[in-house]
Amino acid sequence: MSAPLLGQGIFKGLAETARNFFGSYVKKDRLITVQYPEERLPQTEAARSFPVLVYDGDDWQKGLRCVACLICEKECPPQCIYIVKDTVRKPDAAGKLQFQPRVFDIDISVCMSCQICVEVCPFDAIKMDVQYELSTGDRFGTLLLRKQQLAKPNQYYHQIHPTEAAEVDAHLSADKAKAKAAPTPKPA
C-alpha cells in the first residue's frame, strides 16, 4: 500500500474526512447525531429495562395477574425478586380462586434486565418495561420497588409492547372462553 508520493496516503485520508464533513451538510445519512433530549429515536418494541406487574381492569389489587407461584423468584439469576405469599386468596379473571402475593419486591439495583422472569412466568403477569429515563436525585430511595409501584395497567402494556400485548390478550381470552365452556367445580 505504499504511495509513490510521500504524504499521499495522509492526503487521501484528509480528503475522506472532508467528504464526510462537508457531506453532512448536504446528505441526511452522513449527519447521524440525534440531538437528544430535543429529538428522540423511536422506541423499539422489544426493548427491556426493568420488570413491571400487569393488572387487568381498574383496581390494581383485584386485577393483578400474579398468583405468587414463585417461579420467577426461583429462576431469577441474581435473585432480585422477593415474594411472600398471602393467605387470602382472590378470584382471577376466569373466576377461579388463586393465591396472590402479599409482598412482591424487586431490587432494581440488583436486577440485570435479563428477561428470564418474563419468559418463565406461566400467567403473563410480569413483563418488561421500556423506560430508560430513570434518573432521580434520591440516591437509595427508589431502588427497591414494591408491589404498588410495580403494578401497571394492561393499557400501559398495550402502549409499550403492542404486538405482544395483543397476543397475550388473545390467548388469555381464549383460556377464559374455554373455562366458561367447560366449567370446573370451584375448589372450596
Partner: protein, 408 residues
Amino acid sequence: MTQAYVETPRSEGASAQGIPAPEGAGAPNYTVTPKRAPDGTLQGDLLEVSMGPQHPSTHGVFRMDVVLDGERVMKLKPVFGYLHRNHEKIGENTTYLGSMPYTDRLDYFCSLTNNWAYALTVEKLAGLQPPERAEYIRVITAELTRLQNHVSLVGFLLQDMGAMGTPLMYAFRERERILDLFESLTGARMMCNYMRFGGCRCDLPPGWLEQAQQAVNEFPRFLDEFEALLSGNEILLARTQGVGVLPRELAVNASITGPMLRASGVNYDIRKVDQYGIYDRFKFRVPLGDHGDVYDRYMIRILEMRESVGILQAALRDIPAGPIVDPKAKLRGFRPKPGEVYGRIESPKGELGFYIISNGSPNPYRYRVRPPSFINLTILEDICLGHHVADVVIILGSVDIVMGEVDR
C-alpha cells in the same frame, strides 16, 4: 481492600491449612537493578512504571508493570484481576439457564457469540439439536457481532495511535446500525441474552431481515471509505509495520488464537476446522498475515470483515422458515445427564471455549470459560521487548483484550 475486610475463621476443610505457598510467591520474579558500564560507573537507572489500571489506553482495568530504560521496554508484567467477578463460582451456584445472562457480560462487546458458545456446549452435553432457522439466525447474529467488534477494535486502535476520535466515530456510526438491529431482535443492545439451549429465544420481528440486508449491503462501501482513510496513511504504516512481531512457533506454543494467530501466518480458524453450526455451507476465505506485526493484525481484521459480509449476504438470502427451538428442549427443570464436555467457537477475539462437568443436578458441577483474551496476553511481554512505551499501547490495542473476559 475495604476497611470492612475482617479476618474471620476460615473454612474447616483442609483447604486453607497445609498448602504452602511456593517460594517467593506474591513477589514478581525479577528485580530491577541499575544499569552499570563495564567499569562499574552508574550509567542510568531503569525506571519502573506502572501503566496502572486507570489509564485511557489500556482497554479496561488492566495494569502493566513496565521496566524502562529511557523509553525502551526492558520487562513488562501484566497484572489483572481488577474485574474478577467470580463468574465460574456463580456458574456453579446458578442453573444452566441462569448462567446465560452472565455469559453476555464476559466479553461485553460480543455478547451473542458468548451466548452461542455456551448454548453450543450445553447442547452437546444434553444432546439437543437446534432447527435450521435457529442455526441461520445464530450465524447471522454471530457474523454481525464479528463486524461490530472488528470495526470498534480498529477504531480503538487508531484512537490509541493518536487519531483523536475520527476513525473511532466512523466505526461507531456503523456499529450503531448493528446495535439497533440487535435491539429490535433481542431487546438490548449489548447484553443480548438471546440464545437458548436448542435454539433461540424469539423469532425475527417483521422487517428485520430487510433492515439487516440494508445494513449489510452498505457495509462494504463503508469499509472502502475506512480503508481510504487509514490503510495508506503513512503515519499508520510507520507506527505499525514491524512493531510487535509475533513469530509463528511462539504463537502456536503460547495457545494464541483468533486474528492474532492468523496474522502470524497460521491457518487455524475454528469455523473451518470444527465446522460447528452450519458453517460448512458458507464459502469464505481465511485471511493470513505474513509478518505478525500490528499492521498485519489490523489488515486481517479489515479482511475478515469483508469475508463476514459475504457470509451474511449468503445467510440472509438462504434463511428458511421454521421453528426456533428444538422441541425437546426444556426451559425450566433442565437437568442434563452426567458427563463432561468442551465446546468452542471462533469468537471475534479468538477461541472461546466452555468446559462444563455435569453431575445430573440443575447446576453445573464445574463451569469453566476458556477466555481468548486472557491467553492472548501470555506473550505480551515477548512482543513488547525493545519497543518504545508508545508502541506498547498500540501492541496492546492490537491484541484485542476485553477485561470482562480476561478476569471473568
